[in-house]
């Protein structure tokens, strides 16, 4: 059931927050051993919170699952890493969690993810495998794979994820749920364990577009604890959500429909665009000429920022500390060697390299300038169209293990999602059908809708019409 439906039942006295949690616990016990979306959950303390849930609040009594890189006071926050899986308990609430609580929601459950959000399959979790509820041989996508899989599996009503290069939208697409990456600066990052600070953004994964609007409403807005969080009024995201797409101009970027797209993905995305056209939207072809450089740009900037952010994991203040170090340097190096998995090490090395003396200008500085060109592509496009529609990923969910030891191949599949992070614009993934792919049947496909900075209301309005 959706948040909207459960809220109606709560207000009508047909159910209670405690009953919702007990029902969820039953669903988790029945299906999550197979799916593996949850890393942990604490039913007892959630029920204690449910006992005094304020139903007059917009999310009153509703449990929300939290990706395991967002701090919730007194709960684990493993980031899918062995560095934090044994010895870390959050000493504070992230600002989004404070805001969820202020809206009456109950944070319940810690969702699996790629280690430190680095990956597109949740296979880089050092702690467990998460399977796609639509086909257990397949990935749920990533990095917010646990959040997406649980919402699809109905073991969570809704969830928070984080999106640095597509990590909310792509798993939402693979699992057949709604996933929204807000504009950079729309939602506070305080209490989100940083991966790439100029790209990270927290957002909802939900069963419906209305639910995504409800959660965004609760978590958006100014926070003095995140200096990049904008002090700009938050509109009411539900006011115009049912107004349709009549008269809107939607851009289809020709660079996003080239070779390499699975025919089933193309067919479903094109059908969704036709459906919007039939409701009165004008569809125009546009160009985002620097699209082909997005992956290269991203895989310089994101690892550079990650190598800096992850230097805090040194074995001193929290998390893993190696036994019997010979000196302080040995402690750093051994703790990090033991605590980090291969993808995290690869990205730290790549990031350190592109920032190192003699290479900074050739890689990092150049990538930042190409980032400007990518940002300008969108600014130009949004002078002519209200929003951009495209696929989320070139294929539906692939099989678990298919890209083992081929990180570049995996990175290239991020092509349609990472530009939005580089440009700081919002994007939503909304289910638009299913297709057969590589021996799998009825695999979900998502439509991506991108809008101008702070244009979330219009994205939700278009998504609702899909």
């Amino acid at each position: 059931m959706t948040i909207t439906q459960l809220r109606q039942q709560l207000l009508a006295g047909e159910t209670t927050s405690t009953a919702i949690l007990q029902q969820l616990a039953g669903e988790i016990a029945a299906r999550d051993p197979q799916t593996g979306a949850y890393l942990s959950h604490d039913l007892e303390s959630a029920i204690a919170e449910a006992a005094h849930a304020d139903l007059s609040l917009p999310l009153g009594g509703i449990p929300i699952a939290i990706k395991d890189n967002i701090n919730v006071l007194g709960q684990p926050c493993t980031c899918g890493s062995k560095f934090l899986s044994e010895n870390y308990t959050s000493p504070y609430d992230a600002s989004v969690v404070k805001k969820l609580r202020a809206a009456g929601a109950i944070p319940f459950g810690r969702m699996n993810q790629d280690e430190f959000a680095m990956g597109s399959a949740t296979e880089n979790s050092a702690l467990q495998i998460t399977r796609n509820p639509h086909d257990p041989q397949r990935i749920p996508g990533g990095s917010s794979g646990g959040s997406a899989a649980a919402v699809a599996d109905h073991t969570a009503i809704a969830a928070l994820g984080s999106d640095t290069g597509g990590s909310i939208r792509q798993p939402a697409s693979h699992c057949g749920v709604v996933g929204l990456k807000p504009s950079y600066g729309r939602v506070s990052r305080y209490g989100l364990v940083a991966f790439a600070s100029s790209l990270d953004q927290i957002g909802p994964l939900t069963q419906s577009v209305d639910d995504a609007a409800l959660i965004l409403q609760a978590i958006a807005g100014y926070d003095p604890l995140d200096s990049t969080c904008l002090d700009v009024p938050v509109p009411d995201y539900l006011t115009n959500i049912n107004d349709g797409v009549r008269g809107m101009k939607l851009g289809v970027p020709k660079e996003y429909f080239g070779t390499g797209i699975d025919p089933g993905v193309r067919k479903n995305v094109e059908a969704a665009i036709q459906k919007l056209a039939a409701q009165g939207a004008e569809i125009v072809e546009i160009s985002l000429p620097h699209s082909e450089h997005a992956v290269a740009t991203y895989y310089v900037i994101a690892p550079a920022e990650a190598s800096s952010n992850l230097s805090r994991f040194d074995g001193i203040r929290y998390g893993r500390r190696a036994a019997n170090p010979t000196d302080i340097l040995d402690l750093y190096k051994k703790s990090r060697e033991e605590g980090f998995g291969p993808e995290v090490k690869r990205r730290i090395i790549l990031g350190t390299y592109v920032l190192s003396s003699g290479y900074y200008d050739a890689y990092y500085s150049r990538a930042q300038k190409v980032r400007t060109l990518i940002r300008r592509d969108f600014e130009t496009a949004f002078q002519h169209v209200d929003a951009i529609v495209s696929p989320i990923a070139p294929t539906p969910a692939r099989r678990i293990g298919a890209f083992a030891n081929d990180p570049l191949h995996e990175y290239l599949s991020d092509i349609f999602t990472i530009s939005a992070n580089l440009a700081g614009i919002p994007g939503i993934s909304v289910p638009c059908g299913t297709t057969d792919f590589d021996g799998g049947t009825h695999l979900p496909v998502g439509l991506q809708i991108l809008g101008p900075h702070l244009g979330e209301a219009k994205l939700l309005q278009i998504a609702k019409a899909v």
Binding site: N87, Y184, G185, S311, Y318, K345, R346, I348, G351
Partner: protein, 97 residues
Amino acid sequence: MSHSHIDVRYVANLARLELSDEEVALFQPQLEAILQHVEALTQLNIDGIEPTAHASPVFDRMRADIPHESLPPAAVLQNAPDQAQGQIRVPKVVTDA
């Protein structure tokens, strides 16, 4: 930029990572393939283009210099791997003169 050779062990040391021989052998070709892909950026003319460090139009936000509540020492120390006398304990960091 034609630098797609990377000395993995040297860079790992800069990043304070101690890698096994197996990891170096695994990462070397993977990182070189990624760097080769990144080389495509050299085809673009970036003369006179300003760099984008982050996409949000906020710069140098100032706030009043007023003390505010921070985490109590016990909350900070609860996750420390080793502690004594209300402080985090680390191996010796200064050598004898």
